[in-house]
Structures are given as structure tokens and as C-alpha cells.
Symmetry: D3
Subunit: 234 residues, 6 copies
């Protein structure tokens, strides 16, 4: 598990997240203005776009740009990442500005959506700090109200497992993605019975495991933010 | 809460579900053949498409067909409905046939996706029975392994509430959609903190309430299936 | 033949039209503003969108939203409905407001376009009355200058037939859709030789029959408007 | 009014039609095979595509290819042209072959759709003859069962007028497109009240005028087919 | 080789270019305003769109409008034509106006892109003169800073050849498109080894030949501009 | 300048190319089968897709997948990369297999297309070797007939400059992309006068410089292929 900040020169915040073989590049772009439907309210917006490179996976997938439409899974994960990040954003603190988080999967081996959320939060934190340091938001503004991290947990051969890689993921009977705040509360719980429906006890076990996993990732995020002096090259 | 079977003449199964003011028309279409990636395996496929009529809502929305693309929410719900139904389908029992569930929201007042799942299951059951009666699947085939029903629960003013209507839904701090089998196990749990992140205790309360709600709907589904003699007019 | 007003709670006007097995839901949405090319002229706009649910027909059709493009037939009928309604609208009387008529075919058994026109006119009348009662257009404004109704007539086995259902429609040698005003004049005449070209005498017979049919529908529309007290629930 | 055959070197049939300032290039392409839904029936297919060059009109229009969708008017006219031509085609005589008629409006000054139909029929006749001469259809096959021609007629200042040019067209109270066979029967009658609805007497006057106009065009088509020796250069 | 000016009545400049069997219709449209990203800078814009009619080629191609996307080749050539023309335009001299050059290939037999450039320049010159004569740009403005012409050259059977027609083009080992100003300088050089890579000497020979060819076309353009009195009929 | 092989675990060949701040990830995917139009000829196919990540540039660009269409520049460069690689491929040696080169720009600072070509060739070489080692092509097959590399050269302040970075690129009077084989012959020469047209002498200077640059890159490619033992992890 590794979080490399400032992997890109141009972006206001950027992180390369590596969870096992999974590698996701998260870039935060701060831009003035908000979408049309938010104009004039004095609040900002945070959104995300997730996409996989065609050969991030074991066999090549067609590009969504060539097919002319964005697939359901891509849409669904993009919405999940954006919604999760907004749970720890006070949009008033952003002013009428937008931060877009681009999460591009360079290599996929399970858990790309949770890696994306975990990395995107660090890129978001850097973009907020960058905006404050450049005077784009007031020094007193605190748009970031907390941290989030995400893990996938699942039931493999009847046992709860953390951070499924692809072979585990595709054989898991139950797959659950959990997004939690740094102080241990839930932002998203998405559990799916891939095979057998699951009962309340299994659900409890998976949530216990997810809680532990998110706490570890929270430490990793904090370490990354402290260790690297922020120094954008662009 | 009302389930009207055989609302359409042509479809192999069809249900008009009414939950409060929410009205969803669920049509099950049985067709020979499976998608290309499944061919030759001897198994069938069940999938779903969800869409809202432009004036199902309080203010008119543009048609997705005119905009030339399906929105993320539509994709996401379509996938949820299909995935949920597949949890109680043994695809081998279908042979190389496909059942598509079209869930069209005629009027929306909260809970459209859970109404769609609950109604679609009844339409699916009718379509399976119809296929058996017409000899399209063997008399001994049991592709339907159980029933599912779905509810939305939420935290409104700090209290758990079942079956949110639209005004409640849009003010809920937490919104959770739960899909359960007729025997009380979980197929999908999707909880989202709209405002404040939630803790484990709240999650437990919501799941308790959902369990009660799904059990009631299961009874309603069974009553509907028993009461109406199946008589397709087409 | 049945016209049910106020089938929807939200729409400014709504009608469920049933012609035999054909069922079309017509919703009129009144919104402030006009398309860009009409701005600043002080006149309003009336337009229509027609679409069929995927399983309204005997075999399921793909959704146009999923195919990413609207088909020629859908375009053609949408244009016909809108053009026909505009024949009895004085757009100056609407002010700079738009009324969109959504005609969604829930079940199809021939004559869906003429049912849509006939029902949409009633929904339009309700939406105009609603706008007047809410002060969105002046009490003195009379944007509705008359009524329209539509029938399909055809030559089946050499004989003129009114209101073709699907089996007749697909075997008709000539198919004609006629839109007429309540006072018996023509708004649209669209005749097509499906098989043998037709001569002037046949054309005359079909127009005679259409005239009778439209007159009947006009009575039905008037009865519907008088019978039901307008009471929108939204 | 002018019909120039063999305007293109490659096409199996091609005609440049000039009606006043209106100029439409009609190309007939004969290809082996039929659309998927017709395969194996031993019958052929005739279809048409109509489109306007961006600067065929007085002010430039955007290309439909750039907008990524075909407009409703384009669809509607393409369907009209194809349907009209099929009225004089015995598809059995074509074998499993397809003829596509491309009607591209190089310059528009009213009446483009009727010019397209009139010219496309000549190109179609040439393509059928070409196929026979090259042995692609049997010498005895008679897929062409007659001729068609089309005119637009309208009511301008209360008087019936033939072949509206653009200024007339846009001020006509009633606009009617009529497609007739060479022996004087109707294939398509499409009348639209642009302003005031019209009565049966006006309809009769317009049909009389259209009948005269189509008869003249039929003579012009025959003259064109006789005068020019068919000599394809490709 | 023939250049016919004023082939269209509506366009501000229009040219039918014929190079052998290749025929391209070039229409220049002058419109007030510039694309959004240029607004407020006081400069104009010149751009081009190239497209082939479906039956301009030996076998019919599908329309890009029907496929819903513009192909790579079409995009590439459109960009080449626009970029080439902008090399001899001083956009300040245009004011905030746009000239679009539509180059539609009516018949293709090799060299369509170079024919398009050569013809489009003449249409552009006419459109600029027209704008000046109508007072849309000041009498003193000189937006046109020179002329351009284009040829294709290639290596066929080891020998340099000018103006490849289609059979030569498809067998050429090397294909080069060269755009030059009237005073003999290069605007674009695009050479591609279709088969064997080429060396510097071959490149030199091809450029020599292109220089001769462009000089001839420049004379032809000048003759066309002098010979025909400009007389727009629209 | 750096070429890192095997940057991805799944791809048959993969290279991260870094030219200054420009970083392009090139992945070669070997798959059985060829596009429909090539089937049954016993020859293979090599093609490429180029795309930029939204925040590879200084300001964020919209994703082409979300806009629903691939832009002209993306198409043009994808075609250039594919065409260049095919110049050193003997498609017969591939059998009926396809290699797709995905070139995704992670960070852009000028010269992305030439970096993509240079890196893609190395990934292609690895994919060919991998196919041979796994027996997908015969041991004797030599589909790779040589090497290619590419540079951009330009005229900045009147002086020829190699490998323009973005600030230079956007101020260059002339911009030329040159693709050469390892033995010093030309595959593509694409020169564009951004400002002033250029003469033959300038063209000569630029080609001299490009020749030197490509030779250096050829050495770098060879070193990369020799240094790293090929060891695919997937």
C-alpha cells in the first residue's frame, strides 16, 4: 500500500495510489465557477470522474470514448467517488469554485473504486491547501471537514477478507465497499450478494473488518500528508 | 401499496406497482437467446432497464433518448434492479433464454427503485410461469430460487423512517435501500450519508426497520400472486 | 374508447387515452420561457414528444435512449403531434411560455399517433386552463383557438375501415391519418399506399369516414372536459 | 425543370434534378445483400437517404454528422422518399439485393423533397437497367412496376399554386406534397395546414393541381430516359 | 482541371473544382460572430469542414451522420483544409466574423483534399471580397494575405507523379500532399511512406514536382478570379 | 529521456516513456483475430489509440468519453501512430492476430505524439517477442521488419530546435513531426507553418535536425530492449 503525492506537475493535487497491483492516478483540478444549476448560491462543488485505461485489465477493453458512451459501471463508480468526497466537504467554504477529481485506473487488480476514493481524498486535501495558499479561497475557509477512506471487504470461502484482489473479488460470495470517515463513521455502505444472500451476522463481521481497514488507511493518508512537503512544480 | 398484475396484454409478465403516489410499470419480456458473451454455455440471463417518464416528476426532465445518452442514475438503478433479481435466479434453469425487466416510472414520489424491484420480481415470476406453461423451459426447471422485495429507509429528523416519500427523501440525513429475500436475508444494502455520516447503531436501526418492511412486501407479493389468476390476453 | 383526465398528479394536464387495447399517457407540462430561437418575441411555444415503452408492443423493442438515437418514426410522429396542436394555438396568447406534450405509449395496438393527438389536445386544454387559473397567463388570454381530434382510416380488403387495430393496420392497402378541427376542417391529411396506389374515389371515401370519426372523438373530448371537475392534486 | 442523367461516374444510376434554383443530386447504389431482418426471404430492398449540404440554404446549417444526430426533418423525408419508391418496386424481382437512393440537396429553394423523389425514380430506373444488363438480376425480372413523380402544391393568398419556391413555401397557408404514379394514382398525400385549417373543397383543388403537375413530370422523366443513351463511365 | 465560380446562389463564395474525375463543391459562408473561445479579441476565424457524399466513391460508404460520428479521416482533412487557409488569413482584418468553408466531395477519384484546398481558397477570396463590398469588413481591411494551392505527388513504380488519380494513389509507395503559397513557400508538407520508407533524395524529387504543380494551380486560380465577373445571385 | 519497459503487469508489451515532463504510457495488447474487413486473408493488423488524460495538461480538458465523441486531434494522432508502426510490420508474419497500441498521455509538455510513437515501437517489439515465446506466432515469423522513432522539430525565433516543449511548441513558427526508421529513412514527414510559410532551405535544416534526433532515439530504444530482461508478471 503506497500513496505518492505530487505525481503530476500540473494538477492542484495529485496522487498515485498503489494497493497491491492496483494503481490509480488521482488528479484534483481546482477551477473557478460552478455548474449552471449551482450558480449564484455562493457555494462550491466537488465531483469525480473514474475511468479505466483500456489495458489496465487482464484483457483489453474498448475505450468508452470510442464507443461513444460511458458505461454503467463507470458512471456508478464516478458518482460514488464524488458523493463520498462531498460528505467531508463544506461547499460554502469553497466559494463558487469547483474541484474535479479524475481517477484513472492505470492497472487494475481489484479494489479500484476504494483505492480511488482513498487516493482522491489526499489529492483533494492538497488542492484545498493549494487554493488557500494561492488566495483562491480565504485563509479562514475550512471546506474540508474531515477525512475519508474506503475499503472493499468480502466473504471468500465463507471467511471475511479485506482488500480483495481480482481473483478473490471474482469468486467472493459477498462484496462490500465501505467508505468511512477518519473518526470511524460510515459514509457509504454498499453490500452485494454475488452468490448466496447474506445474513445480519455476516454483515456485522464485514463491517467490523472494514472499520479496521479504513482506520489503517486513515493513518496511511495522514502519514503521506505529513511526510511529503507539498511542492507543486507546475 | 398495491400490486396489479397483468396490466399489459403483450408482456409475458407485467405489474403496475403503486407505493403511495409512486407508480412503476414493470414488464417482463421473455426472449429466446442470450447476449453474445454468454452464448453456448447453456445458461440464461436476466437483466433490467429502469427509466423515468419525463413528467413522472414534479418538474419535467428531458428525455434521455433526446439527449442521446443514458444518465448515471438511470444506469445505476438499472444495474441494481438486474443484479437483485439475478440473486434469486438459477440461470441454468432458464436455458439459453433472456428475460428483460422494463421498469418505467409513470409517477415518482420517492422509492421508485425499491418499488421497481418489488414489482419486477412479481413480473419475473409470471414470466417464468408463462415460459413453463408454453414449454419454453422444461416443466422441471426451477429458475426462480426465491423471492425478493426492497424498501428504502432513512433517518429523518434523527428518526428511522420506512418508505420515504419525496419530501422526506430529499431531507433525509441518511438514505438506505435494502433488498432482501423472502426468507429474510440480504441481497443488497446501499446506505448513503446524505448529510452527517452515520454510526453503527443507526445502521442497525435502519436494517431492523428494513427487515420489517421487506417482510410486509413479501406478503403482499405472495397475495398478489395467489389472488389473480394468471390470464394473459395477448 | 376512453379518456381519463388527471391520471398524473404532477402534470399541469394529463390524460390516459384508451382506444381499444392502445393506451397512451399524455402529459402536458407548462414551463416559463421559450426555446432560444423564439426569445423576445412575446409568443409562446407548444411542442410534443412521442415515444413507445419497449414492451408496449407484441415483441420488445430496444429503448431509443440505450441505442443513443431517436428513430425516424419517433421523430416523425413527435413532429406530427406538435404541428397538429399548434394549429389550434394562438402562440401570442401563451406569452413567453412553453407547453410540452409528452405522449408515451404504454400499450400499442394500432392508431397510437391518432390516439396521442386526441388525448394530447385534452391535456393541453387542461394545462391552458391551469395556467390561467394560476395567473401564469392573463385571464383574457385565449391561446386555445379550437379543438382537434385524429383518426386513422384505411382500406382493408377493399373496404374503408375506421380506427385500424394492429392486425388490420399491417394488412391495410392504404393507411391514412387525418387530423381535423372540432368544426370539421382539415389540419393534417397523411395518406400512404402501403400496397396498391389508390385513386381519387378511394381517397374521397376515406376522408368521408375520417370526418365522421373525428366528429365522434370531438364529442368524446367535450364530454371528458365537462364531466370531470379539474382537480390537480400536486 | 431539368433532369440530367449520369451526372456521376461511379453510381449505378445518378441524376441531377433542377427545379428552379433547387438542385438535388440523386445517386442509386446497387449492392448485393439485404438488411438483416430481410435475409433469406428471396426479396430485395429499396431505401433512401436525404440530406442537405450545409450551405444549400440561404444561411448555413450545421452538419448533422457533426451534431452527432440526424434531425427529425431529415429522417422524415428520407422515409418518405424510400416509401414512395417502394410503391413501384416488386421486391421479389430484385432478388436479395439492395438499392440505396442518396438524395443530397446541393441547393435548396423549396420543393426539395418532391424534386428528390422525382429524380430518384429516374436514378432507380437506371440502376435497375444496369443490374439487368450486368446479369445481377435475371433478364426476365421486372422489379420496376411503374413510375412515380412528386410535386408540392399549396395555398398562397387563397389560391392554389404548383411547385412552391422558398418564399412561397414559407408563406403558404397550406402545404401539400403529393406523390403519384405515372398512371395517375396516389402513392402519398401529405397535406398540412400551416395557418388556417382547410376544407374539403380546397383539398380537392390542390389535388387537381397536383395531378396535372405530376403528369407533366412523368413526361419529363420519360423524355429523360429516352433521350440520353445510358452510358456509365465507371 | 477546371474551377467554376459562383456555382451556388446563396453562398458568399462558391466554387466547383474538377480535377480529372474528382469534383468538390466548396462553399464559403460568412457569418457575424466567432467561436466562444475567441470572443472579445477583435479577431475573426476561418475554419473548414470536409465530407464525402456516400456515393462519391466507387462503392457506397455509410453516411457519417447516420453512424453518429465523424470518422478520423474526415476530421483530419477538415483540420488540414482549415489550417492551410488560415496560413494566408490575417484574422485581425476579418473583425469578429467567421468564414466557414464547406468542401463536399461530389465525386472522388484521388486528390480530393488537395482539390478542396485549391478550390476553397478561391471561394474564400470571393467571400472576403463580398464582405468588403457589403461593408461587413472595412474597405481598408486586407484579411487575405496571399494565395494557396495544393497538390498530391507520389512515387509510382519508383517514379515521381503529380496529381495521383485513385488507381495510382492506391498503389503509390509514397504519397505526399503539399500546400504552397502563391509565392512558392510551404504551408504544409505531409509525406507518408505507404510501402517502403523513402530517403532524402526521393523527398527532394517529390517537393520539386509539387512546387511545379502548385505554381500551375496558382495560375489557374488567378485566371478564374479574373475571368468571371463576381455576380452572386442570391 | 527515459524508456521504462514492463510498466504494466497485464499487457503483452508496455512502456512508460518520459521526454522531459511529457509522460506517455504505451501498452501493446495482442489478441487473436482481425477486424472484419481483413478476415480470411491470413494477415494481421496493428493499430493504435492515443488519448490524453483530462489533467495531463496545464488546465483540465473534458473527457472525450463524456462528450460522447472523439476529437479531431485525437483521431489524427491515433491514425499517425498506427500508420507509422505498420511501416515496419509485415502483417503476414502476424497471422490473423491484432496488436493494439494504447498510448495514454499521463502528462503533457510538448511532443506527446512523437513520444508515443517512440515508446509504442518498444512495446510493440515486446509484444511480438511475447507472442513468439508463447507460440502464438511461429518461431520463424519476423513480423517486425525494423524500428521506428519520432521527433518533433521546429523553428523557434528563426532557429531550428529539437524536441519542443510546450512553451516552445506554442510559439514555433514551423512545427514538424518526423518519423524515421532505424536505418535513417523517412516514414512520415508532417510539417506545418504555424505562422510564416517556410522555404526549402528551412525544410532542409529541420530534416537534418530530425535525422540526428531520431538516430539518438533509436540508440535509446535499442539500449532499453537490451538492458531489461523481458519479464512479464501477469
Amino acid at each position: 500500500m503506497r500513496i505518492t503525492r505530487n505525481w503530476l506537475d500540473h494538477a492542484e493535487g495529485s496522487v498515485l495510489v498503489e494497493f497491491g497491483r492496483t494503481r490509480v492516478l488521482c488528479a484534483a483540478s481546482f477551477t473557478a465557477g460552478v455548474p449552471r444549476w449551482l450558480k449564484g448560491r455562493g457555494t462550491g462543488w466537488v465531483t469525480a470522474e473514474y475511468e479505466m485505461l483500456p489495458r489496465s485489465t487482464n484483457t483489453r477493453s474498448d475505450r468508452e470514448s470510442r464507443r461513444g458512451k460511458v458505461g454503467g459501471r463507470t458512471h456508478e463508480i464516478s458518482r460514488l467517488v464524488g458523493r463520498s468526497l462531498r460528505a467531508v466537504i463544506d461547499t460554502k467554504g469553497l466559494g463558487e469554485n469547483t474541484i474535479v477529481l479524475d481517477c484513472d485506473v492505470l492497472q487494475a487488480d481489484g479494489g479500484t473504486r476504494t483505492a480511488a476514493i482513498t487516493g482522491a481524498w489526499v489529492a483533494l486535501a492538497d488542492a484545498v491547501a493549494d487554493a488557500r495558499s494561492r488566495g483562491l479561497i480565504p485563509p479562514s475557509a475550512q471546506p474540508l471537514t474531515g477525512s475519508i477512506a474506503a475499503v472493499s471487504v468480502g466473504l471468500v470461502d465463507g471467511l471475511p477478507v479485506l482488500d480483495l484482489d481480482y481473483p478473490e473479488d471474482s469468486t467472493a460470495q459477498t462484496d462490500m465497499n465501505v467508505v468511512m470517515t477518519g473518526d470511524g463513521r460510515f459514509v457509504e455502505v454498499q453490500g452485494t450478494a454475488e452468490g448466496e444472500p447474506f445474513d445480519r451476522a455476516v454483515l456485522g463481521d464485514l463491517l467490523d473488518l472494514a472499520t479496521v481497514g479504513c482506520a489503517e488507511l486513515t493513518l496511511l493518508q495522514q502519514a503521506a500528508l505529513e511526510a511529503t512537503p507539498r511542492e507543486r512544480r507546475a
